[in-house]
Symmetry: D3
Subunit: 130 residues, 6 copies
Amino acid sequence: MFTVTVRDHMMVAHSFRGEVFGPAQRLHGATYVVDASFSGPELGPDGILLDIGAATGLLHEVLAGLTYRNLDDDPAFSGTNTSTEVLAQVVADRLAPGVASLGPVTRLVVTLHESHVAWASYERALEEAR
Amino acid sequence: MFTVTVRDHMMVAHSFRGEVFGPAQRLHGATYVVDASFSGPELGPDGILLDIGAATGLLHEVLAGLTYRNLDDDPAFSGTNTSTEVLAQVVADRLAPGVASLGPVTRLVVTLHESHVAWASYERALEEAR
Amino acid sequence: MFTVTVRDHMMVAHSFRGEVFGPAQRLHGATYVVDASFSGPELGPDGILLDIGAATGLLHEVLAGLTYRNLDDDPAFSGTNTSTEVLAQVVADRLAPGVASLGPVTRLVVTLHESHVAWASYERALEEAR
Amino acid sequence: MFTVTVRDHMMVAHSFRGEVFGPAQRLHGATYVVDASFSGPELGPDGILLDIGAATGLLHEVLAGLTYRNLDDDPAFSGTNTSTEVLAQVVADRLAPGVASLGPVTRLVVTLHESHVAWASYERALEEAR
Amino acid sequence: MFTVTVRDHMMVAHSFRGEVFGPAQRLHGATYVVDASFSGPELGPDGILLDIGAATGLLHEVLAGLTYRNLDDDPAFSGTNTSTEVLAQVVADRLAPGVASLGPVTRLVVTLHESHVAWASYERALEEAR
Amino acid sequence: MFTVTVRDHMMVAHSFRGEVFGPAQRLHGATYVVDASFSGPELGPDGILLDIGAATGLLHEVLAGLTYRNLDDDPAFSGTNTSTEVLAQVVADRLAPGVASLGPVTRLVVTLHESHVAWASYERALEEAR
């Protein structure tokens, strides 16, 4: 199994609803350093799983739809806590449609680092490109 | 699958028995930077797998039972080499009982970084909270 | 010259005024991983410049006054862009009064990492403890 | 499951064939920071999966056959793009014969970091030592 | 004193002349992760030393003139060993003319990381923008 | 000014005397990831400040005299707290005599990272090689 990972970041504001969140119920923010990992059992004809430049471009495009925003104002997240786990899934699900054209990828993991001491990831299968 | 990881550290003295260890048979020490990764297939009602603050607290509590000690003097490790692998398992097994109350976690991985060029981890299943 | 550095972090929302900031004029947020570096020409009687635990506590206390907040709502920053540079100075200046009791520190540098590809710092002198 | 990882690096020149590579079709180079991860379900009699020093030595020996070279001139790679993915597999396959004597290892993952924002890995099974 | 740092990277081939370089006399390559640090005693009217986006753009432009190349073929380096130290100076000197328009910067440090265990930097003064 | 840095590590046991140290008065241990930074105003005839391989060798030799030991038993530290600051100075002072033969180095900084959240350094001048 081969895995290729590319890294970018986004900077968002948000607040959480629920007593468990304590002071994070206030409006605050985060830099998420985002790692997108693409896996597949074999390489394509050029000897790569996918073009790292194209993968970086796809990730950047997905993050452009989230960064420099207050996520509390984004209708896509109405009624949802935009936790690190939820945002990892959002990024993965938004990456998925574009992955098929990149290469023979069957699995995707997105990891969001919210600080030097905490991070979260979401892993999902992909239908392979054909 | 979702995974949340939190990081802390401990600082211990110990020595190893066995020729394979060479100079590490002498009493020496290590900082272990410890990553505890909690995984589960779905999020709880608040949109999180577990509260990162509570997970950090649980990890800190487990490490408090090990840090600033000479592990050679700890009866729990009598006759055992407290290798990085063994300590990863010890931390995971001591975390396990407290995880059920944190959230719907089914798998736990503990990684101990002993330097910038070597680390070890132990992965185990958990019975899910109910 | 001796220097001791401790690391912590804060998570804030804010927005910037000025065309130069582009999309960062919108309300967004950041995790700042904060390094506070304390320097002095000689060590105290215990063979340390300062107690790392006490320095960590002082930094945490200063960051507690900023984290999990929308800095746009904080009167202390009224009319000020809370850029990474400005916040580095704010943290340094708020640390300064508490440093004298920590040890013989004559210089302080605070670095705020806003992502894996950008960070800023502010350096200032301190009157030495006596 | 236990996993032990050791890190080293190599510095190579190479070029790629294929339009997808853009400017990387020119002769250029890379530092690959290489992580070799060895996994097995149980520890050996000394309480370790393998000796970290011996694993470091094995990895260094394999990388010595690649580093400080122009891979375009190496007959082993004739007609092959020495992409990060391909090189991860090469390192893993060259490590494999030597792993059996290190300890009860059943899985091997090799990760090559080509920069702070991109890395690739190859994972393969191993026949366990006996 | 304020300092702002931005990070990018370049990937080059080269060889060294001189017995001291041992196997690095062969054609090989390196990824240089490049940190450009801009310092000045005071902030501009927007509360920043310089625009991080503009600084990132300037650094990227300078590195574009070096990356994905065999430096042995670049006439600019004829008769020069393109050591990490030399390249740090080259990047700094090529950044310098563009810095004045970024902000009130008086000092520039460029650091090139050639691996996880070695890096080099060059520091120089700048005439301040006016 | 040019600066070259190389990294290695050591793993020691020790204890501290003084109430300020709290639980660190017990015998415990640390991994110190050690960065040695060599600075000088100009490069030597080969276009380098010093040979990175030779600098790495010198650092490794100095650390070999400290690693895998209980520093409480080392007569060199009798009556001294082997704090991170003190050990940074010890490493710097032991490196100093060997630096002159490496290259035109005038300043030396040694940084010891004791964890991911704390590190200390010692900076000293050197008489330049001639």
